[in-house]
């Protein structure tokens, strides 16, 4: 009999505010320990929290993007527990009334196709600091730079049925929070981390006992951890055992999950409304202001790309993976002015290959959208061949030193720093002599020479062998060292040999 896997995901998305959720200290990553911890962050006696409205604004953005209810009144609560990197002895979070209620995320399941994953809620809270166990012999260091960093905890319903679906959900959510500009999505720095609640059951039966796997900070770990946990739970039950409700940690080195604590020794967090913070009131005017500033969402943009640019749905899906990607596309189409499908092909071909190879984000691409547009214009106007264009593209990319992006993504707009796009493309075409020969007389002479020098092939062509014709075209192209306009070569050869065109 088969098993059904049931997964719900809790995601902590670090909100992209410049300062912390309850203090004015900076949220920038990587500063020396405790240099970004204010009196409030280290919980000096007498200090009080003041809510950062930028964090609330981002929560509203999220709520609007997922079609959720924005609670007009939500409450901050204290979650009480002792830990050295939790300075106040409690975390300010939201408990009974979160700021965002409901909503959903549309994903494409590898097995079930398009499905909507329902969201339970999303609430605002502060992050804790970090305990550093490695750097101090026999002691633990505390870095409170991260303490008070704003988080949006996004809780899904247990609607996911496989590790692959969980990853699809996490990736879609990851794309969305970046798309709407509320989180930088940097998983290495912990800006986007997932907890997976996993259980298994026989189809049709009530939910099984779940285990929560904490702090998964890559899609691969999410997938591996769930896969291991599912296997562990099934083996356990099939061996006559019982799943015990636990919090578990994934160890990537051993590729396994390990028990951290069980339900019995779970904390009693003694939640109660934080008396230092009045209930968070959000009026319609605030929501309307946020709504007016919302970018076009990926779903809507995808549909628009298909109709407006006449590109296949799959291309549109790929080009709306991020706002930068979509902005690059639209900018390149504008600069090119020709068929958008050609832009899509180049982005999903050459550009994607380079980004992959160099492991950089499209915002750091060494070839900008206007350069791509200029390059495609040179193909369309017959200056260079597609083959030569690939060489130009490679040259353009190599010209720019690594780690020195020439493109800045400003909102949705790219701008080219340094020289203009068209001159940079033309310069490379000239330098490498890639310009096609389109001069009728010059090509005519090459064609005549080839006919004269290859009597045997000419005979075959006259006998109707298409393959031989192509060989002859090759000879002419070779004689021009690849620069002759292949279309012209083709036409002239056919005319001179009387071959059917």
């Amino acid at each position: 009999m088969s098993w059904e896997v049931v997964i719900g995901i809790e995601t902590h998305a670090q909100l992209s505010t410049a300062s912390k959720i309850f203090s004015g200290a900076s949220t920038a990553f990587g500063a020396p320990p405790n240099t970004q911890a204010s009196a409030v962050d280290i919980a000096l006696p007498g200090t009080l929290p003041v809510l950062n409205r930028g964090a609330v604004e981002r929560a509203i953005r999220f709520g609007l993007a997922v079609g959720a209810t924005i609670n007009r009144r939500s409450v901050f609560a204290r979650k009480n527990y002792f830990y050295p990197d939790l300075p106040k002895g409690y975390q300010i979070s939201q408990y009974e009334t979160p700021v965002v209620l409901g909503g959903g995320i549309d994903i494409v399941s590898p097995t079930r196709g398009p499905i909507r994953v329902r969201l339970t809620r999303a609430h605002l809270e502060e992050d804790a600091g970090k305990s550093l166990h490695e750097d101090f012999h026999g002691m633990t260091g505390i870095d409170l730079n991260r303490a008070g960093t704003p988080l949006l905890e996004i809780v899904s319903e247990p609607d996911l049925r496989s590790a692959d679906e969980a990853v699809a959900y996490a990736k879609t959510l990851h794309g969305l929070v970046r798309w709407i500009g509320i989180c930088d999505g940097n998983m290495q720095e912990g800006s986007f981390r997932c907890d997976a609640n996993v259980s298994v059951r026989r189809p049709g039966e009530p939910l099984g006992t779940r285990c929560e796997i904490k702090n998964l900070n890559s899609f691969r770990f999410l997938e591996r951890a769930i896969a291991f946990e599912v296997r562990r739970q099934i083996d356990l039950i099939e061996d006559g055992g019982r799943v015990v409700q636990q919090t578990r940690l994934y160890d990537p080195d051993r590729d396994e999950t390990r028990a951290m604590r069980s339900k019995e020794d779970a904390h009693d967090y003694r939640y109660f409304p934080d008396p230092d913070l009045p209930p968070l009131a959000i009026d319609d005017a605030w929501i309307e202001r946020v709504e007016a500033s919302m970018p076009e969402l990926p779903e809507a943009m995808k549909a628009r790309f298909v109709t407006e640019y006449a590109i296949p749905a799959h291309d549109a899906l790929m080009l709306t993976q991020s706002r930068d990607m979509a902005a690059y596309f639209e900018e390149a189409v504008r600069a090119f002015g020709g068929e958008a499908k050609l832009v899509a092909n180049w982005m999903l071909g050459e550009l994607a290959a380079w980004l992959n190879r160099e492991d950089v984000h499209i915002g750091e691409a060494a070839v900008g959208p206007r350069q791509l547009g200029a390059l495609l214009t040179r193909i369309a106007d017959g200056t260079i061949s597609s083959k030569a264009a690939k060489q130009v593209f490679d040259e353009l990319w190599r010209e720019h030193p690594r780690g020195h992006p020439v493109l800045r993504a400003e909102g949705a707009q790219f701008s080219v720093a340094g020289e203009d796009a068209t001159p940079s493309v033309d310069r490379i075409i000239e330098r490498h002599g890639l310009r096609q020969v389109s001069d009728e007389a010059a090509i005519g002479k090459l064609v005549d020479d080839a006919i004269a020098a290859n009597a045997a092939i000419v005979a075959e062509v006259r006998a109707g062998k298409e393959k031989a014709f192509n060989a002859l075209v090759g000879k002419v192209m070779a004689a021009s060292r690849g620069k002759a306009n292949p279309a012209q070569v083709n036409a002239l050869l056919r005319a001179k040999l009387g071959a059917p065109s």
Partner: protein
């Protein structure tokens, strides 16, 4: 000429040039020294005070003196003072030097006051007798065998003994009004949110209120004017237009014979029913008679839910305290146990060694009432009761301007009398707690003495942000009486 010992008189003397701030400050420092047996101060800042006094005198010469320039004051040791030790009366913070000023401390500094020192208090403001201090009990200037009340006992004693003319306190359940009553001075607990809590070390955040002690309502008005004002660092701070309370008192027109004409004073049946010591009841009755003779109309009112205020308070306050005091964990600042096995042991020993009995009791109670399965029965229920009490008061204030009654059921009791009976101690807060649960302003003003010479105060409560009217009414009473002008026999205090 005797030195002026009220804020109003000192401000006038300084303005006239009759004395300098250095003289007043030196006199305050001398009195601290001669009255050390009161144990009113935890920290004295001799050098700093004299430097501030010199600066105040210089500012006066330059013409840039603030309204309270040069007047020596003291702060309750629960308010953060930059560069100065702030202990909260606890071993936990016995060596803690604050890097910043509390908002109200900063405002009083800006007004030109001279800070002579930090006053003794019940540990973390938990107590009604000032016996719960790591630095020992404070003694009542009227009789050194008596408590001064608490938790702001040191500030009350310092003013009553004439060390300083004004001092700050904090009032979470009566911690300004009860010691004011016990020491024969005027104490004001303003509306919650009128004075910022930033830099006030939290006991119970939804109840903690900074306020003032002085001899008279007029003095309190001067100090409150400097202390009140919105602070964006405190999210519960009110956006209330700045008022000049003393000027309002001076400017308010009044009938010389019937200065309280038209004023309606409500007397809650529940306050006069029983449980009040007869001598206290007698003093209060007499004071109310004075009010009536000044033109006030006395009206009997009902506050039926107010009897639930003590149980509601002793759920809410410990609940908030149990969370607020979690930050004292020995990790970042304050006391840390010397020997411990592991992290949990460090927490346990640190908190066991550095917190006193009353603080531990309240942390335990608070932890219990917030625990899973008990929250609804205790904390939630208490919050519901709190709302009902506020409704009672709202209804009452639709009919009357003020609600009057005793401050506490008894006058000052002997040190040690109630140490072993916390519940008896808690019940002493019966009349003061409701103002904290509702957030309304209330004050205690000297109303008389028991036969054995113990001061007794009268409590006046008003509706939200009615400090101006409240202080004016108290001022009219004080113009017609001299209870606030009585002083303890200081020779007896200094001696022995």
């Amino acid at each position: 000429m005797t030195a002026p010992d009220t804020v109003t008189a000192q401000a006038a003397a300084l303005a006239r040039g009759d004395c300098s701030s250095v003289e007043l400050t030196q006199r305050a420092l001398d009195r601290i020294a001669s009255m050390q047996s009161l144990n009113a101060f935890i920290t004295v800042d001799t050098e700093g005070a004299l430097a501030q006094a010199r600066e105040a005198d210089a500012a006066r010469v330059r013409g840039t003196a603030g309204p309270l320039a040069g007047i020596p004051i003291a702060h309750k040791d629960v308010l953060m003072t930059a560069g100065l030790r702030t202990t909260c009366g606890s071993r936990m913070l016995a060596d803690f030097v604050s890097p910043y000023d509390a908002h109200v401390v900063g405002l009083l500094k800006r007004a030109g006051t001279v800070l002579v020192g930090k006053t003794n208090m019940d540990e973390f403001a938990m107590g009604s007798s000032n016996e719960n201090s790591h630095f020992g009990p404070v003694r009542n200037p009227w009789n050194r065998s008596l408590v001064p009340g608490g938790s702001s006992g040191g500030s009350a004693a310092a003013v009553a003994a004439g060390i300083v003319a004004g001092a700050t306190g904090t009032d979470t359940g009566g911690s300004i009004r009860q010691p004011a009553s016990f020491t024969g001075i005027t104490g004001l607990k303003p509306t919650y949110g009128l004075c910022s809590r930033y830099g006030l070390v939290a006991f119970a955040s939804s109840l903690d209120t900074p306020g003032v002690f002085a001899h008279s309502a007029h003095d309190c008005a001067l100090l409150l004017t400097a202390m009140a004002g919105h602070d964006e660092r405190d999210s519960t701070s009110l956006s209330h237009a700045q008022e000049d309370y003393a000027r309002d008192i001076d400017a308010s027109p009044s009938d010389a014979h019937k200065p309280l004409a038209g004023v309606r004073i409500g007397l809650p049946r529940e306050y006069f029913a029983s449980g009040v010591e007869s001598e206290v009841a007698g003093v209060v009755d007499q004071a109310l008679g004075t009010m009536r003779s000044l033109g006030a109309t006395l009206v009997e009112i009902g506050l039926p839910t107010v009897r639930h205020s003590v149980p509601a308070y002793y759920v809410i306050a410990p609940a908030e305290a149990s969370s607020n005091l979690s930050r004292f964990d020995g990790v970042r600042y304050g006391y840390r146990a010397r020997d411990y096995r592991d992290l949990d042991d460090m927490y346990r020993r640190t908190r066991a060694e550095a917190f006193g009995e009353e603080v531990k009791r309240r942390i335990l109670v608070g932890t219990y009432v917030l625990s899973h399965g008990y929250y609804d029965a205790y904390y939630l229920k208490a919050q519901q009761v709190r709302r009902l009490i506020a409704d009672d008061f709202r209804r009452a204030f639709a009919e009357v301007d003020f609600i009057a009654g005793p401050v506490a059921p008894t006058p000052a009791f002997a040190i040690g009398d109630r140490r072993d009976d916390p519940v008896q101690m808690y019940l002493g807060d019966i009349f003061t707690i409701a103002a904290n649960l509702t957030g309304i302003p209330a004050l205690s003003l000297p109303a008389g003495f028991t036969r054995d010479g113990r001061p007794v105060g009268l409590q006046l409560q008003a509706s939200y942000l009615r400090e101006s009217a409240l202080l004016a009414a108290a001022h009219r009473f004080q113009q017609a009486t001299d209870w606030h002008a009585r002083r303890p026999d200081l020779a007896r205090v200094a001696g022995a």
